[in-house]
């Protein structure tokens, strides 16, 4: 009954979405409040039904109900509870259900908290959301239904792909989807503005928090995915430029650009058309990502199943939405009124430069992702990897980072580049000193590495300078500084943290790629490996029985200069049901650096292949994004950005954003 009720709830959600995509639009045309308000109640009911459907699927997985094909194919009765739950979205059907659940969640949030939106704008936004939802409900029901049943249920399931049996699966996909799908809100707002033919500064004010939420989740989702790949795949790599990663990076780049251009629009009423276009492009790239990952065009751990009908269906959705929205844009964009003039040297100018660089970087990634696929269609196998991106993406980003500290310090409308440069002198000097120190201190590695580290320091110092300037830390008495720091809008702090995060991540990336050291060998008991000043002694190999796997554990005693530090226990797990195995790398963090041990195959003589890496400052790669997301959250918590809590005492007729 749970299975069928969940199935039916999903069907009802489709029916509600269909109504939600038509009735509110008619209402907006007729200016009928009741019809427009249908959008709100149906969006909430949709959330209720999709939520019920999702919970039903989770329950089925937890109960190991193998009469449901999806559970049978991806679960196992002996799997630990947490993986029974996360396994729900560890497969194609379930992950699509999560996708629409999150879509419904965002729609429900707009419906529930969109009180301060003009009625017709809200109706339009929710109708556009319902178009997307309908398309994906149909996709799920027709091609990837998670509720299909097996008449004679098998006794045991086929288990989840062992690589996915990790805590990362609990965090990475939901985060990433919150990001991907969150951009659907700005997309819907953009389409709504085009349909209404009206766009103003207020529009950007409403869009920005939603974009920011999506961006925060996407940032964390990508970082999490990268860290997961780093520790689970056993090669110590954290970014491979493979199409699936690019698929998440592209919306991030476009989303970052959108975030900044929405700022210009909100503050200065400029760049309206560009912001609309970016909103459309960002979500289109999210859809493209979904297509690349879910259609089986590319094979990776993310492409759970390949089925041509699915690919064609998603391609259809893709063409419909991207093509439709872009043609609407082409037809309507000219009718939107432009506004807000500014000099090239100004905060607006800096943000335009930011947008320009981010868009070009995004285009480069798009090219690098699609070109090999197009070539493959012509039976030519080429792969576009790190060398390509080092030549194209890296210089663009270096340029962008160079400009980052200047942006927040420019004045709106017309800025003073010379003045800003003078104020950034200290940061520049800090960067140069860092270059000199690194140059003198280390030997070997790329000559560009010290320069890149200097750039990272410059970005961080620039962010600090901005805060120092605003609080007057050097010039004013301390009490005043504290007062001013408290009075500083939280979005300013957010900007500083997010920008500093960029520098932190850059330093981590450069250090890891330039100075990591590795040791690959076959080790026997009591063998000692020397890596980057650490001694790792193999104490022995043990076997252990896990809930649904057997694992072979190697125990290493780590010491440095004869002083014991810790014990590391990498392991290899073999899963009988799927007949496959995973490597569980052992990580030892020392400050921001890590020792990384992963196991290869055991030989007959009781020796084992071992890969040991020392990765200097590797953790900074992920601290950076976490810092960025923290900055985003600070900015989001800024009261002036909030969507607006009503103050009924003062305004009877109209709810005003919080003051």
């Amino acid at each position: 009954m749970i299975a069928e009720a969940g199935h039916y709830a999903l069907v009802l959600a489709l029916a509600l979405a269909l109504i939600q995509s038509i009735v509110p639009l008619i209402g907006a045309r007729l200016n009928d409040a009741a019809l427009m308000n249908v959008a709100r109640s149906t969006a909430l009911a949709q959330l209720l039904f999709v939520g019920a459907s999702f919970i039903a699927l989770v329950t089925l997985h937890v109960n190991s109900d193998f009469s449901v094909a999806n559970v049978y194919e991806n679960s196992h009765s002996m799997k630990p509870l947490i993986y029974k739950i996360t396994g729900v979205w560890g497969n194609h059907e379930g992950s699509m259900l999560l996708w629409v659940s999150i879509l419904a969640l965002f729609g429900g949030l707009v419906a529930a908290f969109g009180n301060n939106l003009p009625l017709s704008l809200r109706a339009h936004v929710l109708a556009v959301q319902a178009w997307i939802a309908s398309a994906f409900y149909l996709f799920i029901l027709m091609t990837s239904n998670p509720f299909l049943r097996i008449a004679n249920p098998p006794i045991e399931g086929r288990d989840l792909n062992p690589v996915l049996q990790d805590i990362g699966l609990a965090v990475h996909p939901p985060m990433l989807y919150l990001g991907y799908v969150g951009f659907s809100i700005s997309f819907s707002f953009a389409i709504a503005a085009l349909l209404e033919g009206r766009i103003d500064a207020a529009w950007a004010r409403w869009v920005r928090p939603w974009t920011l939420v999506a961006w925060i989740f996407l940032t964390l989702g990508i970082a999490m995915g990268s860290y997961w790949a780093y520790y689970e795949l056993g090669w110590g790599g954290w970014w491979f430029w493979d199409p699936v990663e690019n698929a998440s990076l592209m919306p991030w780049l476009a989303g970052t650009a959108l975030l900044h251009s929405a700022l210009v629009m909100e503050k200065r009423n400029a760049l309206k058309v560009w912001t609309i276009l970016l909103s459309i492009l960002t979500f289109s790239l999210s859809l493209l990502g979904t297509f690349l990952v879910r259609s089986g065009v590319i094979t990776s751990v993310h492409a759970f199943a390949t089925d041509p009908t699915r690919g064609v269906f998603i391609l259809l959705i893709l063409c419909l939405f991207i093509g439709g929205s872009l043609s609407l844009f082409a037809g309507r964009a000219t009718s939107l009124k432009q506004g807000g003039l500014f000099a090239p040297i100004s905060r607006e100018g800096a943000l335009v430069l930011n947008n320009l660089l981010l868009s070009v970087a995004c285009a480069v990634v798009l090219f690098g992702t699609l070109y090999p696929l197009a070539m493959e269609a012509l039976d030519l196998k080429i792969s576009v990897g790190a060398p390509f991106y080092n030549l194209t993406f890296a210089p663009l980003f270096a340029l962008l980072l160079l400009a980052v500290p200047f942006g927040p310090m420019m004045a709106w409308k017309r800025g003073d580049l010379l003045g800003v440069t003078q104020r950034l002198l200290a940061a520049g000097v800090a960067g140069l000193v860092a270059v000199a120190i690194v140059w003198g201190w280390v030997s070997g590695g790329s000559t560009l590495a010290p320069l890149a580290i200097g750039l990272g320091i410059f970005v961080i110092a620039g962010a600090v300078t901005d805060i120092v300037e605003r609080t007057g830390l050097v010039r004013l008495p301390f009490a005043t500084v504290l007062h001013r720091a408290r009075g500083l809008p939280r979005s300013a702090w957010g900007t500083a943290f997010a920008h500093a995060g960029l520098g932190v991540a850059l330093i981590g990336i450069v250090c890891e790629t330039t100075w990591n050291s590795e040791y690959i060998a076959t080790m026997k008991q009591n063998d000692v490996a020397h890596v980057a000043g650490y001694d790792l002694k193999l104490d022995g190999l043990f076997s252990r029985q896990g809930p649904n796997f057997r694992e072979m554990i190697a125990e290493f005693n780590v010491s440095r200069d004869g002083e014991a530090i810790s014990v590391m226990t990498p392991s290899k797990r073999s899963f009988t049901t799927r007949g496959s195995s995973t490597t569980e790398a052992a990580l030892l963090s020392r400050g921001a650096s890590q020792l990384y041990v992963s196991l290869g195959d055991a030989t007959a003589e009781g020796a084992i292949a071992v890969r040991i890496y020392h990765k200097p400052l590797v953790l900074m790669i992920w601290w950076g994004p976490v810092l960025m997301a923290f900055g985003g959250m600070l900015s989001l918590s800024d009261r002036r950005l909030r969507v607006g809590a009503p103050k009924p005492a003062r305004a009877k007729q109209r709810l005003q954003p919080a003051e």
């Binding site: 489709l14 209402g27 019809l35 308000n37 029901l141 004679n152 006794i155 003051e659």
Partner: protein, 371 residues
């Protein structure tokens, strides 16, 4: 019945979600506007000024600009007089009351299985298996789970392996036999059983891997019937018919008169043409079945078998032996055209594999079908 009741309740809830706002009159709705945003921005400037973040002249300039926009927005604010169009509201209500259930039923009925009960693990373990096959599989799963936890239990592997083989899970059977050998020690029987499972997993082809196992078994016990039989089969499949005949003849000579596998070996021997009396190349059961048939039926049966072989090869063309058997069958049936057709199909199927192609060409040559 409960299920339909739940469905009905859910449908009513969904319809209600559409009808609810329609039923509520056109009350003056609270809604946000541009003006509010600009007022907010003005206040922000005051605050920045008070905190000393911007200078007075800048603040003044910004204030002027925002005020200008505020005035423009206030002037252009649409004086929205919410209208109510009863006709359209009724249409929406009808859409909800009729369209929504129709869409829901129309989509659900072809996809759902409302008659199937849930079948969670807890219920399954209470032993509600249906019929013999179910409980056998249940037992196998239990033994497998036991062995997963105690992989050194040799007896368990011994019991499990033949059952797996009978269930057609040859790959698992191979693994089970291997474990059995590891934990119970070697014996001719176990080696031969392992070889048989490997051959079964390869669709009856005695692969090099399987052959190695039979040779090991033979080394342990030169008279092991299973090992000898399969070594003969390997020779036959390699095209060394005389060797096969010799092996099988020797096997029969040593075999006790009442050995249950005697007929099988005799049939095989006849197939390679070493049995003196010509025996049809069919298994005992098939022969028994065909005894009661008239000539026409027998022909039909043979044709049916040939067709099955042909379809199998169409799906999986790697099996050179199979192709040769098919060509031979067509020749025997006097259908030379089909034989030629099959041999060209076979060449196409294995064209990418030089070794197989060579084997195929040699085989075809012996059948008198050249090039």
């Amino acid at each position: 019945m409960t299920l339909w009741f739940v469905f009905a309740l859910m449908t009513v809830a969904a319809i209600f979600a559409v009808l609810w706002p329609l039923g509520r009159g056109a009350r003056a709705e609270n809604q946000g506007s541009e003006v509010a945003v600009y007022k907010d921005q003005l206040a922000e400037i005051e605050r920045d000024l008070a905190a000393g973040l911007i200078a007075a002249p800048e603040a003044e300039a910004a204030r002027v600009e925002i005020s200008r926009r505020l005035l423009a927005a206030a002037a252009s604010e649409p004086v929205s007089e919410p209208k109510s169009s009863l006709r359209w509201r009724r249409a929406a209500a009808v859409l909800a009351l009729v369209g929504l259930p129709l869409v829901a039923i129309g989509v659900y009925m072809p996809l759902g299985s409302p008659l199937l009960r849930d079948f969670p693990l807890a219920q399954r373990e209470r032993g509600s298996g249906s019929g013999m096959a179910q409980s056998l599989e249940n037992l196998v799963v239990q033994v497998e789970q036991h062995l997963e936890k105690n992989p050194t239990d040799g007896r368990g592997w011994n019991v499990l392996a033949p059952v797996l083989e009978r269930l057609g899970r040859f790959d698992d059977a191979v693994r089970a036999y291997r474990s059995s050998i590891t934990y119970n020690g070697e014996s001719a029987e176990r080696r031969a059983d392992l070889g048989e499972a490997i051959a079964a997993a390869a669709n009856g082809v005695v692969t090099a891997e399987a052959k190695t196992e039979f040779e090991r078994a033979q080394a342990l016990n030169a008279d092991d019937p299973k090992a000898n039989y399969f070594l003969g089969l390997a020779a036959e499949q390699d095209g060394r018919k005389d060797d096969a005949a010799n092996i099988w003849r020797a096997l029969l000579a040593k075999a006790p008169a009442d050995a249950p596998w005697r007929p099988l070996v005799q049939t095989s021997l006849a197939r390679v043409g070493g049995g003196g009396a010509t025996m049809p190349a069919l298994s005992d059961e098939t022969i028994a079945a065909s005894k009661d048939m008239n000539a026409g039926d027998r022909n039909a049966m043979v044709r049916g078998m040939v067709e099955r072989l042909a379809t199998r090869l169409k799906q999986n063309g790697d099996d050179v032996e199979g192709w040769l058997r098919l060509v031979r069958a067509y020749l025997v049936m006097g259908d030379r055209d089909k034989a030629v057709g099959a041999s060209s199909d076979a060449r196409q199927a294995v064209a990418n594999d030089a070794a197989r192609l060579k084997q195929l060409n040699e085989g075809l040559k012996t059948l008198g079908l050249d090039g």
